[in-house]
Symmetry: C2
Subunit: 335 residues, 2 copies
């Protein structure tokens, strides 16, 4: 990993996106979302994924020109068609729209069909929180998680995001329904470290902390065993039913062909409910209580580490794997 | 356990509720909710909990006469005050209201403050599904779950319910954020069985499948370790912020004094979105795919077992612990 300055990362990606045909405004937002994900420490879903994103544009899976289109409207619920445009731009537009609906109705829901991988799901939680709204969103994925009781992937790991705004730092939970993502398993395999807890089954069907064995078996573990399995199933059903788009079972099992995902964006308009000061006090009190005061114990709220990492990476540069950065910059100068 | 006919259970509870001062209609609904929970196999949150419910009425924690009252209205979001009335009646009324709001706005949300234990959370999922709506609801609880990294309970296990309607059987997920409820731990302890997976920490801080050791340490495990811990925290924040009611940290840590809970009820109006036939097809296809066809594998969707148990208990009677039934019926004839 080498550290590259935020502005250099952003401008490098921006330049490539412009040459790929993005309009200026869309290229800026797209470059910012990629750069921010890495700056916040979510390396697996930031700049490290940019080469794959570029390849999916070049292979025609992602259409840089497609913009999401309103497909149906039912009060505070809207269906949008992502038209296979860039997943992060589609997701950002739909959370934005959900927030606008929540200003009008107290709650807003946008169900998005035919979209692409949203990269870092937490981005849209931070987006809602920045706007002073509670945000909830989730996506389905290709089948990559065996349901409890089975050996083959027939569920997506369907990441779920919940976000609560707070003046001194938003609370943002961004979690897949598998105990560890494939990106995390890979990282543990490369450094030859044991997972901190069981992460899946080995080929013999035994629970294991060996990341390589789980990659080989294709049997990561749902969080809470049968519970995460059930939750992944329900999130897929809701996404497909509300959006009118595809369910996990219909999505190509190939991370370079994974497209036409279904996503849900929900926002609650907190400013309309209570004064910001009262809301901050409520959330601060919960955070303080949860942290506790026991010496030697470290309890963190979701998003707490993000703020520290963001500051550090803004100051010292964003860690990016040398080979990935070489690939990005050589493509940048070649095209 | 002895099997008691559905009608006998229902009428016994009804009679007691009437004598406790419930109006006829409310006594009928309350008796039905208790009886149905046991009939559906959720014994820990059905008739077995009735003696505690009765005691909480007699001690004044639960006010049989209190009905939920609209506190604020913001389009599709309403705040209701449960006024410490019976938790299951409050919850039923609020899911009913969320469904009505969803008919008008596509989505409806009722945030309920000052309520009591809703008994079986799945009841309100089944209620939404019976009405043809998608239902989502959750409750906070007293502190009963240590956050990841801590040894003391500073989170609730905050059960979450998601329900999708389907002609041939609704999909209803009802799960607490702890891997096993205290009721389940107790059941394993009594039969001296090992938990199927690690359920918490023992007094020495080691993960264990020994239910008694977890009861003794008071350290059940959140589902997915840090993930369930984060989700429990966010569910509490959302419940407190949206309802204006108490957060887990403010709720009495005593299961006979646990009151003034905050709950959220969300419904999506599916009938307005698509035809029932199409919706059934979407859900059926997902269920079929998830079940798979591998010989020797058993995959179940949440709620699948419920339908079988319901039929069996309707036919052969509802299993009720002999001592609990004796307690209920002696109280019934005595009072």
């Amino acid at each position: 990993m080498q550290r590259i300055a935020y502005q250099e990362v952003y401008e490098t990606l921006l330049e490539i996106l412009l040459r790929l045909g993005f309009s200026v405004e869309r290229a800026q937002l797209c470059a910012r979302l990629f750069t921010d994900a890495s700056c916040d420490g979510v390396y697996s879903h930031g700049v490290h994924r940019f080469p794959r994103f570029r390849q999916m544009i070049e292979s025609g899976v992602v259409d840089v020109h497609a913009e999401p289109m309103l497909a149906a409207q039912l009060g505070a619920v809207e269906r949008w068609d992502g038209k296979c445009g860039p997943g992060n731009l589609n997701a950002f537009a739909c959370m934005d729209r959900a927030i606008a609906l929540s200003r009008q109705y107290g709650v807003g829901c946008v169900a998005l069909a035919n979209t692409n991988h949203w990269m870092r799901g937490g981005s849209y939680g931070w987006q809602a929180a920045e706007a002073g709204a509670i945000g909830i969103c989730w996506t389905n994925t290709m089948p990559n998680l065996p349901p409890w009781g089975a050996t083959e992937p027939r569920l997506g790991n369907n990441p779920l995001v919940l976000a609560v705004p707070r003046a001194s730092g938003h609370i943002v939970l961004d979690m897949a329904m598998s105990q560890f993502s494939y990106g995390t398993l890979e990282a543990y395999r490369i450094t030859n470290e044991e997972l901190p807890v069981n992460g899946g089954f080995d080929a013999g069907g035994e629970l294991t902390r060996d990341a390589a064995a789980i990659e080989a078996s294709g049997r990561p573990l749902p969080i809470g065993y049968w519970k995460g399995s059930g939750l992944a199933l329900l999130l897929d059903m809701l996404a497909a039913l509300l959006s009118g788009g595809l369910a996990t079972r219909e999505i190509a099992r190939d991370s370079y062909q994974e497209t036409r995902l279904s996503q849900i964006f929900v926002a609650f308009d907190l400013p309309a409910i209570d004064q910001a000061q009262l809301r901050n006090e409520i959330v601060n009190n919960i955070v303080t209580f949860t942290h506790g005061t026991n010496p030697g114990e470290t309890v963190r709220y979701p998003g707490e580490q993000t703020l520290k990492t963001r500051l550090e990476n803004r100051r010292h540069g964003i860690p990016i794997a040398a080979d990935v950065w070489a690939q990005i910059t050589s493509a940048s100068s070649a095209s």
